[in-house]
């Protein structure tokens, strides 16, 4: 009897590689341009989505309705419906704001920074991540707007003349936030839409009904793939990426100034901007993964969003998760080394005080959980990675909770210490924001191309023309030598 073959079967969908110097095939399954278009466009064209889509939409739409009901209750009654009181005047609203803005960092990081670094694997995931960014920033924007108490004067945040003839205070980090998040939302939206126009034109040209032809016709702006247009388009895309790169790093830095510029122990530290940015990327990639792992399975996109893509994302999560862990350690070291009793108390209080439970949830989820990604078996196992993403999502929410609440609840004066607990309204509002987020994701998947078709085609081997001597096939690397032509007027 022959011994059984113990070698693992070769998986045609496993394109992970241990040798980073070798090019990896980014699109599997022997696709050509026609099949890429058909596969991706048919998801957004299917007139009858699976029943699961309707169920998910009903659930998330109900949660969204609950979110707006809670907001209405808050506006009608006042911020007393939340658990806020002295000394904790910043509760879940700010925690949720920082949580959602942080998640919103992955999209622009993937589209801009990975684009400038020529990480070609980004093409399969950037559209989805950018959409997720915009939805997360929408969720984030709700909380500061409703937490002001008198929401009908929220326009005082903007430099608009009002009847009191007072302008906003431009030396306040809270105002910097308005500009940072507003700019980030606008630029993310422009970037997302610009990237989507060629694909909207594809949907227009494939439209089977008059309505679709008109809607996508308008959205596509009359795009016809002209190379004179592509030329400016690519230049504009590159410059938008260049502009978005410092922007994405600035947004969470400015958010961290809300804390770091204050005098409170535990907040007043210079490490906050880089530590917040690393945490934002960490949480953003985890949320992208949380959505992509099921989406690639349900919509048959395993050949585009391959294990190589997921493994790369997991490596980024491991790197940024370790940076976050290092920042936690540095904070403790400086609290001790700085010799400020209020500061060292704040940190001992975080780890062993009344909120120790939250602190240790944070450490387990953010520092310990991502360390499993050192193992390639974990990095390439979709179930294992999805469980770890969920841990990171939970941990990053608790990080913002720990930072916001522990410092406020016990500051310099022991007689004014207190313990903060959320109310049911706080909890339902936060749960409702998840409803809004997932509802928008579901609508996006249903109606818009969730993979950047035009961009995916550029990383396929058949797309590349490298001079006459090398006809096609050399698609790795970006050197495309063609005989120089004298530049003529066009």
């Amino acid at each position: 009897m022959s011994s059984p073959d113990l070698r693992p079967p070769i998986d045609p969908l496993d394109n992970t590689s241990d040798d980073p110097t070798q090019p990896t095939t980014l699109v599997l399954g022997g696709h050509d341009f026609t099949s890429v278009t058909d596969t991706v466009a048919s998801i957004a064209e299917n007139p009858n989505p699976p029943r699961a889509w309707y169920i998910a939409f009903a659930v998330t739409a109900s949660m969204t309705a609950m979110l707006f009901a809670m907001i209405a209750y808050l506006i009608v009654t006042g911020v007393g419906v939340w658990g806020l009181n002295n000394p904790v005047g910043w509760g879940w609203a700010i925690v949720n704001f920082v949580f959602w803005v942080g998640i919103g960092h992955a999209g622009t990081l993937i589209s801009a920074i990975l684009f400038l670094l020529r990480q070609r694997w980004r093409t399969s995931i950037n559209r989805f991540a950018e959409a997720m960014t915009i939805f997360a920033v929408i969720c984030a924007g709700i909380f500061p707007a409703i937490h002001v108490g008198r929401i009908w004067v929220v326009w005082w945040l903007f430099p608009i003349p009002n009847y009191q003839l007072v302008w906003p205070n431009f030396r306040s980090p809270l105002l910097w936030d308005v500009f940072a998040v507003g700019t980030y939302m606008t630029v993310s939206l422009l970037f997302w839409y610009t990237g989507m126009v060629p694909d909207l034109a594809t949907l227009r040209d494939r439209a089977q009904t008059k309505t679709r032809a008109i809607i996508f016709g308008i959205l596509a702006l009359g795009w016809r793939g002209s190379h004179r247009h592509w030329h400016r388009y690519e230049k504009a895309y590159l410059i938008l990426a260049g502009l978005a790169t410092p922007l994405v790093l600035s947004v969470h830095s400015v958010v961290s100034f809300d804390f770091a510029v204050a005098q409170l122990p535990g907040w007043h530290t210079t490490i906050f901007p880089p530590y917040f940015v690393a945490g934002a990327i960490f949480s953003g990639f985890s949320m992208v993964g949380t959505l992509l792992v099921p989406a690639r399975k349900w919509f048959g996109l395993k050949e585009f969003i391959t294990l190589h893509h997921l493994e790369n994302m997991n490596k980024i999560i491991l790197a940024t998760g370790s940076m976050v862990g290092f920042a936690y350690a540095t904070e403790f070291f400086i609290a001790w080394y700085g010799g400020n009793p209020a500061e060292s108390f704040a940190f001992v209080n975080r780890a062993f005080g009344p909120y120790a439970w939250a602190y240790w949830i944070m450490v387990s989820c953010n520092v310990i959980a991502p360390q499993f990604f050192w193992s390639k078996r974990v990095r390439t196992n979709t179930v294992a990675m999805w469980i770890l993403y969920i841990f990171v999502n939970i941990g990053m929410w608790f990080e913002r909770f720990v930072i916001t609440v522990t410092s406020l609840s016990r500051d310099f004066l022991p007689s004014s210490w207190g313990y903060y607990s959320p109310t049911i309204v706080d909890i339902l509002t936060f749960v409702g924001s998840f409803g809004l987020f997932f509802m928008l994701v579901l609508l996006f998947i249903r109606f818009l191309p969730m993979l950047a078709m035009a961009e995916v085609k550029t990383v396929m081997p058949v797309a590349h023309v490298s001079g006459e001597s090398k006809p096609i096939g050399d698609y790795h690397g970006d050197i495309h030598i063609l005989p120089k032509a004298p530049k003529e007027a066009t």
Partner: protein
């Protein structure tokens, strides 16, 4: 083709980017100026193959960004130090460090808006109608086919000669477009 209707130009269809680039070089070398290639995705090397010059978009964006920078500084100085002097915690009425974040954000915002509107504006968009959309064949230009259009406005364009030239480029289909 009927001689009565005005001809917009001639449409050539190719099946793969390699043949398109080779054909584009020939059109360029033949001296045509009013012509274009249409592809589902940007192809590297096409700028040279078509002889496309650089765009002035980056200069516009620089101007947009500098406008945002100047406006942001002016706004913060005028609002907090001139129109309503806003004295808080003894801080200077106008101190550059505290005004940098808003200045940075508005610089990026103006530059990004210039990029977006400048690029679509220079491309002449939105333009929902174009003669190429009349061709059923052209619908695949956004999916999996590659096209060249030589316009009848081109000084070198001749009804017979250009058709013969087009036929020599190796296109899988040639079609005359009505205006």
């Amino acid at each position: 083709m009927s001689e009565g209707s005005k001809v917009y130009g001639i449409l050539l269809e190719f099946e793969d980017p390699q043949n398109l680039v080779v054909a584009c070089r020939k059109v360029r070398d033949a001296g045509y100026t009013r012509w274009d290639a249409h592809t589902p995705f940007p192809i590297h090397g096409m700028d040279a193959a078509m002889g496309i010059r650089g765009t002035r978009l980056p200069l516009l964006i620089l101007a947009g960004g500098l406008t945002g920078l100047a406006l942001a500084l002016l706004m913060q100085w005028w609002m907090n130090a001139v129109d309503y002097p806003f004295l808080i915690s003894g801080k200077p009425l106008f101190g550059l460090p505290a005004n940098i974040p808003v200045t940075f954000e508005l610089t990026v915002l103006f530059a990004a808006l210039t990029t977006f509107f400048g690029m679509w504006g220079l491309n002449g968009m939105p333009r929902l109608y174009h003669p190429v959309f009349k061709s059923a064949r052209f619908r695949r230009a956004t999916a999996d086919r590659f096209f060249i259009v030589i316009e009848s406005d081109d000084p070198l364009y001749q009804t017979e000669g250009t058709s013969d030239f087009a036929a020599s480029l190796g296109a899988v289909a040639v079609e005359e477009l009505e205006d």
